[in-house]
């Protein structure tokens, strides 16, 4: 093998490795980005499921605490990652909090939560205002289906 051939092979090897390394790095970074995005989307499900199960099974104090924790988390999440809207979930959580207060006969607190629920829900339905009872009916119906 001549000196020129050796140099040519070596150069080809270097170029091949560099290109391969570049594409491999790019693909891995892309995969890690996607994986991070998916984890960010799905991590809140732990609190969502917990809040719902507590709402169905726990006493007023504990169910209220779980729903409020989830609502506060979602509001914070919405602020930090505005590209991942949580408005629908927030509307549902506040409606459940209102339903919980209805069951405990705390009408004023229930109305406060419904104001928040409507605030988060309105943009989704394109401006059409839903009444408190319509929203409560929808959430109750959804919960009955999940049973």
């Amino acid at each position: 093998m001549t000196r020129a051939t050796k140099i040519l092979y070596f150069a080809a090897l270097l170029i091949g490795l560099s290109i391969g390394g570049f594409f491999s790095f790019r693909n891995t970074t892309r995969f890690l980005d996607v994986s991070h995005d998916v984890q960010r989307q799905t991590a809140p499900w732990v609190l969502r499921d917990f809040a719902y199960i507590q709402y169905r099974n726990a006493d007023h104090e504990h169910a209220n605490a779980a729903l409020l924790t989830y609502a506060n988390f979602l509001e914070e999440f919405q602020k930090t990652y505005p590209e991942n809207p949580q408005k629908g979930d927030l509307a549902v959580v506040y409606t459940r909090l209102a339903l919980l207060e209805d069951a405990a006969n705390n009408q004023e607190q229930s109305r406060t939560y419904m104001t928040k629920a409507r605030f988060w829900y309105s943009p989704i339905v394109g401006g059409r205002e839903l009444s408190d009872s319509e929203m409560k009916f929808a959430v109750n119906k959804m919960d009955a289906r999940m049973q």
Partner: protein, 125 residues
């Protein structure tokens, strides 16, 4: 926010893993206790008080999976110890009904989501 998300990710991963391995007897026996240990570690270390009840809930559910597994293996003493641990946790979470039956129903509902249906001849074609 990032630390909460990271902790929730760990819990979610362990929860899914627990539910998946519990539907398989051999895998359950091998890994479920390790899984419970990992959840107990997170629960002990957790600096995030606001998500501690959610961790307790997942730990409680894992105890019920372990109780079901021990029951199937006819280790009734161990099964009732796991069930008792689960009941203590669910009571601390404000459950008025934390009877064995209710907890088993909640756990089985979750397990069913992860159970792979047996393949029939028709579906295999």
């Amino acid at each position: 926010m990032e630390s909460t998300l990271s902790r929730l990710n760990e819990v979610q991963y362990l929860q899914m893993f627990a539910a998946t391995i519990s539907s398989d007897k051999k895998l359950g026996e091998k890994y479920l206790l390790k899984n419970i240990g990992a959840l107990e570690d997170i629960e002990r270390k957790s600096d995030l008080q606001e998500i501690k009840p959610a961790i307790d809930f997942n730990l409680g559910r894992a105890y019920v999976y372990a109780a079901l597994m021990e029951e199937q293996a006819h280790n009734n003493g161990q099964a009732s110890r796991y069930m008792k641990s689960a009941q203590n946790l669910f009571q601390s979470l404000g459950w008025s009904d934390s009877t064995e039956e209710t907890l088993k129903t909640v756990a089985t509902r979750e397990l069913d989501k992860w159970r792979i249906p047996p393949q029939t001849k028709e579906s295999g074609k």
